[in-house]
């Protein structure tokens, strides 16, 4: 009996201690998980070093830092988000509450104007949109499932990406129209080919950011791509891709999002490029390192989690996911993009007056630089560069004090800091100046500048820009004759001396001849002055083929004061 008594007294003391300690439980993960059972796996929302079924756990702290924002009860109320994807299971138990059936969705199986109250998955593999939507707006504190970043925002869907839909130009342009506040595009083209900018699409986006939300502009968030390594063009070998090779990613009206994993470093697949704006969690593949927990098409006969999967959670053998309504293996910049979309929804609730330019400013200004290391990066596939030439640079700090990295953009999104700045701007408005575009006014045509073969000096050409703007984005176009443009690197240096590498040498454009007016974008010069001499340098990074720079033009977007 004494032993029993001792045991009971010990147990009592333990429970008291546990009760007290729960009040101090680190970051309330326990209570959050009672409110939404799968919250504990959402390292992107609260990274406490959980492993989420992977071999290696997350590294605590690398999340989107939204604690204070939720404490302030900012949940994305009143913000309407279009998920432009392959369809959405609007009846999902954790999404339905945030799907208001407004007859503003787009079903491209219908005839023009395609309007519908919803667009559910049509093809058997239309699983993507439901997972994307959950990262944005899975309902919160309903004691089921997961939670979105903006758990009280509202969803609509455009099913442009469905396997049953032909991707015509009209549908492509149409999915970028509508009365939403934010559109999330977790998709893109393969980054081993290149094309000129689609002018109609460019015009449509410009129209949306200048007219929607009563002139404050709709916000377009786009996945940067998963082609860090991609099949070389016309080959069965792998090369290094570039987010800028997708011609939709070099339009400054979109926000291109790269992915980090649960260790806080660039995800293995995440495309790189000077066109990136910011980084958000996208995870890895869930086996070596955590992927992302989100909603999945219900039932174990479809979706990412299904009876054919091998792990208990994914095949419905776990009581936490007995109906296969959630997945823990979603990843990609497809996942990073909706995480950022959710953050922007929170921003628009905190300050509904924010313009699309102010949103971009806030994100850039408040992004976290986790590992500020300068210097160079050698070719990831060990390919040689000309003597003395660096394939890529690490973090740079531009003349306006913004840090930038072609792998992270301005850094990892920091929700609480962004919300704080958004609230501040509500009181003390930000003056970004009148939005101005120089419209390719400066062009050096009829050039005949030989590009020396395999030398680090390359060939340079300069353009003097007379217009005084505060830079928000810079585009360049080049025409170059060369038998294999994958060998060419392009660098742009601003009047302030900031260098941005727009194209890395020895890339995935293998065997493609000539640049014929394709556009490249750099965000690295953000907030620098535009006026002065801009210098393009073209470097041929591989011996054997030489070429000629025949024209160079520049287009600067920025604020005029």
């Amino acid at each position: 009996m004494k032993r029993i008594n001792s045991y009971l007294i010990f147990l009592t003391a333990f429970l008291f201690a546990a009760g007290c300690s729960f009040q101090k439980f680190e970051s309330d993960q326990f209570s959050q998980s009672l409110a939404d059972p799968l919250f504990k796996y959402a390292w992107h929302l609260l990274n406490v070093g959980q492993s989420v079924f992977a071999n290696d756990p997350a590294v605590a702290g690398f999340d989107i830092n939204l604690n204070q924002t939720w404490n302030d009860q900012i949940y994305g109320n009143g913000v309407l988000i279009q998920v432009s994807d392959d369809g959405l299971e609007d009846t999902h138990e954790d999404l339905n509450a945030n799907f208001p059936y407004l007859n503003v969705s787009k079903n491209y199986a219908l005839t023009s104007p395609f309007t519908a109250t919803t667009a559910r998955p049509l093809a058997s593999d239309d699983d993507h949109g439901t997972a994307v939507a959950g990262l944005i707006a899975a309902a919160g504190w309903n004691r089921i499932g997961a939670r979105g970043v903006a758990p009280k925002s509202r969803l609509m869907i455009a099913n442009f990406l469905s396997g049953s839909i032909a991707q015509t130009q009209a549908k492509f342009i149409d999915q970028a129209s509508g009365d939403f506040d934010i559109s999330n595009m977790s998709w893109g083209g393969t980054q081993n080919t290149i094309d000129v900018v689609n002018t109609t699409y460019n015009n449509q986006l410009r129209s949306m950011v200048t007219t929607k939300r009563n002139g404050k502009g709709a916000i377009f968030v786009k996945a940067a791509g998963n082609d860090f390594q991609v099949l070389c063009n016309g080959s069965t070998s792998y090369c290094i891709g570039n987010s800028s090779f997708d011609n939709d990613n070099v339009i400054p009206y979109i926000i291109a999002v790269a992915a980090i994993n649960a260790e806080g470093i660039s995800s293995s697949y995440s495309s790189t490029g000077s066109n990136l704006w910011i980084t958000a969690p996208g995870g890895e593949y869930g086996s070596d390192s955590p992927a992302m927990i989100t909603t999945d098409r219900m039932g174990c006969t479809n979706g990412f989690s299904n009876s054919l999967r091998t792990t208990a959670f994914e095949k419905g053998d776990s009581p936490e996911n007995s109906n296969c309504s959630y997945t823990s293996t979603f990843n990609g910049t497809s996942a990073a993009s909706p995480v950022l979309t959710g953050v922007i929804a929170l921003l628009l609730e905190a300050n509904p007056n924010l313009t699309w330019r102010e949103v971009k400013y806030i994100l850039a200004k408040t992004a976290k630089v986790d590992n500020y290391v300068t210097g160079s990066i050698s070719h990831p596939l060990n390919l040689a560069m000309p003597s003395g030439y660096s394939w890529e640079q690490r973090w740079i700090t531009n003349a306006a004090a913004f840090n930038f990295h072609n792998w992270y953009g301005f850094g990892r999104v920091d929700t609480d800091a962004a919300i704080a700045l958004a609230k501040t701007i509500k009181v003390t408005p930000l003056n970004l100046g009148t939005f101005t575009e120089t419209n390719w006014a400066q062009i050096n045509s009829s050039l005949a500048l030989a590009i020396p073969d395999n030398t680090s000096t390359g060939v340079t050409n300069t353009i003097n820009v007379p217009t005084a703007l505060t830079v928000e984005a810079v585009q360049i176009k080049v025409n170059i004759t060369h038998a294999d443009i994958s060998q060419l690197a392009l660098e742009l240096t601003s009047p302030s001396g900031t260098k941005s590498i727009l194209v890395n040498g020895r890339n995935s454009l293998t065997g493609i001849a000539d640049f014929v007016g394709e556009t490249f974008l750099s965000n690295a010069f953000y907030q620098e002055p535009s006026a002065g001499v801009w210098t393009l340098r073209v470097i041929d990074t591989q011996a054997g083929t030489s070429g000629t720079l025949t024209s160079f033009s520049i287009n600067i977007f920025g604020g005029a004061n």
């Binding site: 209570s31 130009q169 016309g234 792998y238």
Partner: protein, 246 residues
């Protein structure tokens, strides 16, 4: 004595259980509160020079509280991991498209790198023939010549193209993308050439147009449209991009 001890223990145990339950209940009910991470300094830029004291935000400083990852994010590590993941996911290289043996230039495609691939057809998705390529979710098969020609374009038989520079196929859909400064004039002129608008984007003055009849002369229609004074720009719709989930 033993009974008394037992009673006290049960009493304390019950009290502890009630306390614990209450705490858990309150945790569920109340708005979640999460500890805020440590604040940092700001380096103001020109826009926020007057706001810096109000904002705990920055783009400047690394968070030194987090694990230093300088040695682990080398390019090669990322490349190695990427390739491992590609292989483990079964994303192995697919067969690349060999250059078509016969290609035909056409004046309507002047100024582009596209040529007609005469021995290729757009096929239904569920065709038993294995497609040689897929463009914009539309399958292309090689074999029979297309029933369509540029001057006798059949809307049900789109023309397959090939871009030698980019080494990829495209589909000439028979639609013309027209940007106009005068919509009524466009409607009037289209009517006069037996063509119509099939998709409208008024906000950017852009319209997708095609012949009214199932078969029409695409070259003639395109040439006419480009000459109309109210047309700012006209181009043929060529599908060549595959939009993929990321």
């Amino acid at each position: 004595m033993h009974k008394k001890n037992l009673f006290i223990s049960f009493f304390l145990l019950s009290a502890a259980a009630i306390l614990l339950s209450s705490i858990l209940f309150l945790k569920i009910k109340k708005t979640p509160e999460i500890k805020k991470s440590s604040s940092r300094n700001i380096l103001p830029d020109a826009k926020t020079a007057n706001l810096s004291s109000l904002v705990e935000a920055e783009n400047m400083k690394p968070d030194l509280n987090l694990k230093n990852i300088a040695e682990t994010h080398e390019a090669k590590d990322k490349a190695t991991r990427a390739l491992q993941n590609i292989k483990s996911r079964g994303r192995l290289p697919s067969q690349t498209l060999t250059k078509p043996s016969v290609l035909q230039a056409h004046s309507i495609l002047t100024g582009t790198r596209w040529k007609i691939w005469p021995n290729a057809n757009v096929v239904a998705k569920l065709s038993s023939d294995a497609p040689v390529a897929r463009v914009s979710h539309i399958d292309i098969a090689e074999g029979e010549p297309s029933q369509s020609t540029i001057v006798n374009f059949d809307n049900t038989n789109q023309i397959v193209l090939y871009n030698e520079r980019l080494q990829k196929p495209g589909i000439l859909t028979g639609l013309i993308i027209v940007e106009t400064v005068d919509l009524p004039a466009l409607r009037r002129d289209l009517s006069s050439v037996n063509a119509e608008i099939v998709n409208s984007f008024d906000q950017i003055n852009t319209y997708f147009v095609t012949g009214l009849a199932q078969s029409f002369n695409l070259e003639l229609l395109f040439t006419q449209i480009k000459k109309w004074p109210h047309v700012r720009n006209a181009e043929l719709e060529i599908l060549s991009k595959n939009y993929e989930k990321n």
